[in-house]
């Protein structure tokens, strides 16, 4: 476990504080330990460090001035939005400045004609959809933490959501970014048109985990709200059939808005927690959400029902009304806290695999689970192959934490082995640096570092995250939840 970040304070701490106080009002510069405490970790609370100083700018000009100062003093900078990330991407450094974008929280413009929203980075994901709703529009990417997470963080992590098979990730829904470079220079990436000249720096910035520049404004694409959404629940006696059913739906030319799978341990935990009416004997359930026009949804519900039954579902239910649709989803959305209830601690993995390898991957996870003596429940964004195995453990038992981390690493290696990736949506942060070594060779890692140096030659932006140096390749860490109390217990996680 990474634990505390023990770097010694920067020799220029006093100079930094003084410089910041010349740029920002006194209440926007924090340096007393009790003021720094709320910033010591993000959603991956097993890693903690007090930042040296926290700056809370409230304008782009202030962000630029802060960056110029930090650049001159060569102080590392960690940018932070709402701090809901699950991989330690916003973990502060004891020798660094934590740059909070939380006060840049204005929705600058909603353009209902061009269907765009121009927002500051500290605007919450859900707030964009709420502001667009009067125009019949919404912002499609919907990470489970959407009531709290901010668009700046979404860009940094390339956040997805339950609906991304059909509507894409953050990278598919951002048109333009205003960023501030490590030198404090403001750049526009992308445009109000559908493309921009030169390299696709918009794509490069999205998912770069705060290592390349600081996002100070985003223009995002808004989509028309679908006329109707309908959900089906199918129960299966074995997971292979459930996996095959997903393939059959897609082969039939239907792209569901949401397509989720849970295995038996996850079903049982969720049902015990929220009584969604799930069939607890089933080996797996599938939730299939269809959206679109009324006519389209009616047509597709019939077809998907037939396909599910033909694929061997022993039961298919269609939500009779909105209340039942919400209930079907409630169980899935409660899966993480439900597992948290039945185990003192759990560790959430985030691999992506080619879906056809699912039966084999689940079988091998079951074998690993037995070998390590640790139970695993699986929830799966089945449409896009993003698997969240939840390893159940008890940190109070000597050695169990270490065994859990080892099992987690084995699972990520398995994902890479079958042609997948170590992180589908949570990011690398500090958590999956070891996994990066499993996924990429030395030459690829060197290319990543060269790209980083093109933006940030001194390595001041979020150093030590996302891309491991070769000698750090042995380290790894994890999202651990103790006593069912994650860092943001009020946030849904799925």
């Amino acid at each position: 476990m990474g634990g505390m970040n023990q770097t010694t304070p920067h020799p220029r701490r006093a100079e930094l504080i003084q410089g910041l106080l010349a740029i920002l009002p006194a209440d926007s510069v924090l340096y007393e330990p009790e003021d720094l405490r709320p910033y010591e970790c993000d959603g991956l609370s097993a890693y903690r460090a007090l930042p040296m100083v926290v700056a809370l700018p409230s304008s782009v000009e202030q962000v630029q001035a802060v960056m110029r100062l930090a650049y001159r003093l060569k102080v590392p900078v960690v940018a932070r939005g709402a701090g809901t990330g699950l991989s330690g991407g916003a973990l502060p450094r004891a020798d660094g400045l934590l740059l909070s974008l939380a006060r840049l929280k204005s929705i600058l413009a909603i353009d209902p004609i061009a269907r765009t929203a121009r927002v500051q980075p500290g605007v919450r994901n859900l707030a964009i959809s709420e502001a667009a709703r009067p125009y019949g529009l919404y912002y499609a990417p919907d990470p489970s933490s959407q009531i709290a997470c901010t668009i700046g963080g979404n860009v940094a992590e390339n956040s997805g959501g339950v609906h991304c098979l059909k509507y894409g990730l953050t990278v598919h829904n951002v048109l333009k970014l205003e960023v501030v470079t490590v030198e404090g220079e403001r750049l526009t990436l992308g445009s109000d048109a559908l493309d921009a000249p030169g390299y696709d720096l918009l794509a490069l910035m999205t998912g770069s985990e705060g290592l390349l520049a600081v996002v100070v404004e985003a223009t995002v694409r808004l989509l028309p709200l679908p006329e109707r959404a309908q959900v089906l629940l199918a129960a299966f006696d074995d997971v292979a059939r459930a996996g095959a059913a997903v393939g059959a739906i897609i082969a039939a030319g239907i792209i569901p808005a949401g397509l989720e799978m849970m295995d038996n341990p996850a079903i049982r935990a969720a049902e015990a927690f929220v009584q969604a009416g799930y069939p607890v004997e089933a080996a797996a359930i599938l939730l299939v959400e269809l959206d679109g026009t009324n006519a389209e949804v009616s047509e597709q519900v019939m077809r998907v029902r037939e396909l599910l039954l033909a694929s061997g579902a022993r039961e298919v239910r269609t939500a009779r009304d909105e209340a039942e649709r919400q209930l079907f989803w409630k169980g899935r959305k409660a899966a993480f806290p439900a597992v948290g209830r039945i185990s003192p601690d759990y560790y959430c993995m985030d691999g992506t695999i080619p879906r056809r390898r699912l039966p084999e991957v689940l079988e091998r996870i079951a074998q690993l689970s037995q070998a390590y003596g640790l139970a695993v429940a699986n929830v799966f964004h089945a449409g896009d192959g993003n698997l969240h195995p939840l390893i159940l453990y008890d940190a109070n038992r000597p050695g169990e934490l270490e065994r859990t981390e080892e099992l987690g690493q084995r699972i990520l290696e398995l994902c890479v082995e079958v042609g997948g990736t170590i992180t589908g949506e949570h990011g690398v942060g500090v958590e999956k640096l070891a996994g990066m070594c499993a996924q990429f060779g030395a030459a690829e890692l060197a290319q990543f570092h060269a790209v980083k140096a093109a933006f940030d030659p001194d390595g001041l932006l979020n150093p030590g995250k996302a891309v491991p140096t070769l000698h750090r390749c042995a380290e790894f860490g994890a999202m651990h939840v103790h006593g069912g109390n994650p860092r943001f217990p009020e946030l849904p996680r799925f």
Binding site: R115, G160, Y199, G207, V428
Partner: protein, 417 residues
């Protein structure tokens, strides 16, 4: 179907040798988009022989193929399983390429290496998308992963064959539109989609300004629109999706059903519609979709208002920038237009077999870096909207991060890259 071959090692060896010697390389696929960029100088690196579909998983919605694989072969394989490339990449077969580049007829026809056929690599390198782009996404939106050779001759793999992947910087998507200046594409993995079960094209009598207004209003409603353009005094709208959805939308939108809808959109996608055959310089203006229509311009409005084709002898850079977008000059300036270049020799290095040698220095076979560095194109050679100095400086550093000696398609996008 052409034979498949894995030339990874040969190509990497060529790049390593070029890196050692500092020799610029001109990367060639099918040569169909040779005219869409600044002229290239350097040793020809032909990737069209590196071809074949490596994997295609219809139920995963993923396809991986080598860069030299003809686009037509990929589309045929997808069609067999009822799927497609939803971004509708234009092929620009030889006749279009000739018209747009004003090249003389090729001395020889299609060669045994598949020249003259659009390849996957060229498609992704140019990041071109057809009429569906505003509704289904651009080429870059469908890129899941790549294998490439960087400017040091190292074979690297980024991204993967899965929909969600946030491990490391998104260097695969960065290759889309980079025109080979950051790496030689070896393999690309794409997301593919089912073909819609029903499709219908409607035509409505509207002037350009009213059409743009209508396109934007419709795009804000849950309608199954997958293309919308305006030419002459008519707006054309394509509806795609479930049978019932298309039927309902048709009733709502009104207008007249165009029987040859598919052929019409094909002519838009490939720039073969009569509009594009007018004499003069063809400009592509990429604008905010609701940007006001400049009625003085003779234009073809596509992408629901976001892409406007204009035939004009005036330079449109400033006009595009003022409207919040950017311009691309689709007619390559003729080699003979440039005062510093020798007149082209007809049939010598100008046909599809040597498409990248068709520029100002066709005689510079072999290439020479110092000559390259001394070369600075003026406005006449400009193809892409200029970048501001800060952005250009970043582009140069990024180029150097992939290609420290500047040997990969140097000068293709901008003289400085």
């Amino acid at each position: 179907m052409l034979p498949t071959a894995d030339l990874t090692e040969d190509l990497a060896e060529r790049v390593r040798a070029a890196y050692a010697a500092g020799t610029p390389l001109a990367i060639v696929g099918g040569g169909t988009k040779a005219w869409l960029g600044r002229p290239l100088h350097g040793e020809r690196l032909d990737v069209s022989g590196h071809r074949g579909i490596v994997s295609y998983e219809p139920t995963e919605l993923t396809l991986t193929a080598r860069a030299g694989t003809p686009l037509a072969e990929i589309e045929a394989a997808l069609a067999e399983r009822g799927q497609c490339l939803a971004f509708e990449p234009p092929h620009f077969l030889v006749k279009v390429a000739q018209r747009l580049s004003k090249l003389p007829s090729p001395a020889s026809g299609r060669g045994d290496g598949g020249e003259g056929l659009a390849t996957l690599g060229g498609t992704v390198a140019c990041n071109l998308s057809g009429p569906a782009r505003p509704y289904t996404g651009a080429c870059r939106d469908f890129v899941l992963g790549v294998r490439l050779i960087n400017g040091r001759g190292e074979v690297l793999r980024f991204g993967g064959e899965v929909m969600k992947n946030v491990a490391g910087y998104d260097l695969s998507r960065l290759m889309a539109g980079a025109q080979g200046t950051l790496g030689v594409l070896l393999e690309v993995s794409l997301k593919v989609l089912p073909r819609p079960p029903a499709e219908l094209t409607l035509a409505l009598e509207l002037d350009a300004a009213a059409a743009v207004e209508r396109f934007n209003a419709w795009a804000g409603q849950p309608l199954p629109i997958t293309a919308a353009c305006h030419v002459g005094e008519r707006a054309y709208v394509r509806l795609s999706g479930a049978e019932a959805a298309v039927r309902a939308a048709r009733q709502r939108l009104g207008g007249e059903v165009i029987e040859a809808g598919a052929a019409f959109w094909q002519s838009v996608r490939e720039l073969e519609h009569g509009f594009f055959k007018a004499p003069g310089v063809l400009w592509r203006l990429s604008l905010p979709p609701a940007a006001p229509v400049d009625l003085k311009l003779r234009q073809f409005i596509d992408w629901g208002g976001a892409q406007r084709w204009v035939v004009s002898d005036a330079e449109l850079w400033d006009l595009a920038a003022a409207a919040g977008g950017h311009a691309t000059r689709y007619h390559k300036s003729r080699a003979s237009d440039s005062p510093r270049s020798p007149p082209p020799q007809a049939g010598e290095g100008l046909g599809v077999r040597e498409p990248f040698m068709a520029g100002t220095s066709a005689s510079m076979s072999g290439g020479d870096l110092s000559a390259m560095n001394g070369y600075r194109g003026g406005r006449r050679d400009r193809v892409f909207q200029p970048l501001n100095p800060a952005l250009l400086a970043l582009h140069r550093r990024l180029k150097a991060a992939f290609d420290p000696k500047g040997i990969l398609n140097p000068g293709r996008l901008y003289p400085e890259l």
